[in-house]
Amino acid sequence: MSLANLQGRVAWIFEEDDFDIDLIVGVRNIKITDLNELVAVTMSDYDPGFATAVKKGDLLVGGKNFGYGHPHYPAMRAMRHLGISGVIAESFSPGFFRGEISMGFPLATCPGIRAAVQRWDEVQVDWAKGQATNLRTGQALPLQPLSSAERGTLEAGGLVPYLKTRLAAQAQAVGST
């Protein structure tokens, strides 16, 4: 199995370091579980037209330590529902990183990305080559590699299918001895 590359427009650049992703839906809304309700409040403090402007496959770009704070799941659930296919950031806060990889949501750590893109640039993430490329400028930047477990989780589509695969492999290994 190989990890599907990402290609899409930069739908938003979160310029600030230590960005708290709960702000995407507003902290007051983090207990909302209904996706339509969530989408209605997503990015309302940043760009009220966001939901209509994005299309499937678009990407987000973040600064250093993206996801700092208490990263709850609703913000990225809403983003996925809107078609966002992944986040490329200078670096990620570990809690956010673990949580979203578990959801099967691709996160690419790419120092230099913030200065290398403008909103709506078309960007490609090539996991095999280990680089992110701005297709408008041609500039390519190296990605920090994923661990084998992170890669496996993304390939499987999230922690639940990844665990199933691993448990099946373990059962097979036990059965064959």
Partner: protein, 429 residues
């Protein structure tokens, strides 16, 4: 091979003689801890059963559940969640502790903070069990693996050794030490690493202060934080520990990725200004800013030494009319002891609103702020909207600063009040 505390604990938990940073291992958590919250426990229960066909979890004695958020319930669907949690616990033979306090504190009181143990939770603030030498990891969704089976796959993290030296000045609390660490080291300085905390200041520090610091490891980016057990730790856990384990200490020649030494002798109280816990500043640069509400509580603060410090500031005084001071002891045991010591009476007489333990004040579920209001808070986080309107502001500080600010109606220096209290008590404390 010399090893850090983390390496020793994870070696035992993975059945190996030794492990080192970077090793991929499969380890057995000694404890699986969670509180009920929509999208977390309800999902874990469902997925465990429906996706993996596990009707009964293996070794239910590993598990403990807390009901500490949405306490008391304010809507039928919140109580429905609690009902589901109670029912799951009963069916699985897993204890559910309800209304006893914030789970991260009650875990320690009940003996899940066993020195040398490996504990997992979905919430990163479980790192405060590290104050007792427990490797406590907030794995987020990853905790599901420990529901489905008995193991968890992980990579052994590298360790950063942080030594706190010098002597704390009066009025400077554990809370200040932690946020000073963030200021000196940086909010992502320990990303995907573990902090081993030591030094004479930590040796002198109370168990409560150590819990305060370890519990916020995530704001350094750290996976967790640990302190080697000492006589104070062993006294605390004696008769409580849920399992018999040899306490674990770092080898003198253990390999650390980085070693940091921070002298806190000249540290004065801090304030963490909005919008992020990355923003540690000197309190004195913010004294005089009008504030409308104060929160003394949370898993990070709200313990006896916090309540004592607040009482020292407030004793015999009244908070500013119109100011809302919410005091929420972290657990029932702490609240009872505070009552025995006369602290509750003292705080009430000063005008504080005292609540039984609950997580709900920390995330603005109750006592919410309106547009334009400002809080001084010992809560965990100061993100805009965390305690109400996104147009309200949260200034994080120690418990004595919250109390002094309640008296003055603006961010205030507690040290003159504390000095008076010390004099009244017959000498410096």
């Amino acid at each position: 091979m010399p090893q850090t505390m983390t390496e020793k604990i994870l070696a035992r938990a993975s059945g190996r003689a030794s492990v080192k940073a970077g090793d991929d291992i499969v380890a057995k958590p000694d404890f699986v801890i969670a509180y009920d919250f929509p999208g977390y426990t309800d999902v874990f229960f469902k997925e465990t059963r429906e996706e993996f066909g596990v009707d009964k979890v293996a070794r239910p004695e590993r598990f403990v559940l807390f009901i500490d958020h949405m306490v008391p319930a304010a809507a039928p669907k919140e109580e429905e969640l609690h009902k589901m949690t109670r029912a799951w616990g009963k069916a699985q033979g897993v204890p559910v502790h309800e209304r006893e306090g914030i789970g991260h504190q009650v875990s320690a009181e009940l003996g899940y903070a066993t020195p040398g143990a490996f504990a997992v939770h979905f919430d990163g603030h479980v790192s405060q069990l590290g104050a007792f030498g427990t490797y406590a990891f907030g794995a987020r969704k990853g905790v599901l693996e420990a529901f489905v089976g008995e193991t968890m796959a992980l990579t052994v993290p590298p360790t950063v050794k942080v030594e706190i030296v010098g002597k704390l000045q009066p009025g400077v609390m554990a809370r200040d030490v932690f946020h000073h660490m963030v200021r000196v080291m940086g909010p992502s300085s320990c990303a995907f690493k573990v902090v081993e905390l030591c030094g004479p200041v930590i040796d002198e520090m109370s168990i409560e202060g150590r819990q305060t610091i370890c519990g916020q490891a995530m704001f350094l980016g750290a996976t967790t934080m640990l302190i080697a057990p000492d006589a104070k730790t062993l006294d605390y856990v004696r008769g409580r520990s849920k399992i018999a384990l040899e306490p674990v200490f770092p080898d003198p020649d253990a390999v650390y990725e980085t070693e940091v030494r921070i002298d806190v002798s000249s540290l004065s109280p801090i304030v963490v200004v909005p919008p992020s816990p990355a923003n540690t500043r000197d309190l004195m640069d913010y004294v005089g800013i009008e504030v409308h509400t104060g929160y003394l509580g949370s898993c990070a603060s709200g313990r006896l030494e916090d309540l004592r410090a607040a009482a020292d500031v407030l004793r015999g005084r009244r908070i500013k009319p119109g100011f809302q001071l919410h005091v929420v002891p972290t657990s029932q045991a702490i609240m009872a002891q505070a009552a025995n010591e006369g602290l509750i009476g003292c705080l009430v007489e000063a005008g504080a609103f005292i609540s039984s333990p609950s997580c709900d004040y920390c995330f603005g579920k109750i006592a919410t702020m309106a547009d334009g209001q400002r809080a001084v808070s010992t809560g965990t986080l100061n993100t805009p909207g965390r305690m109400g309107s996104v147009d309200s502001e949260i200034y994080i500080c120690n418990a004595a600063v919250v109390a002094a600010s309640a008296l003055e109606g603006c961010i205030a220096d507690p040290r003159p009040y504390l000095a008076q209290a010390a004099t009244a008590a017959g000498g410096p404390k």
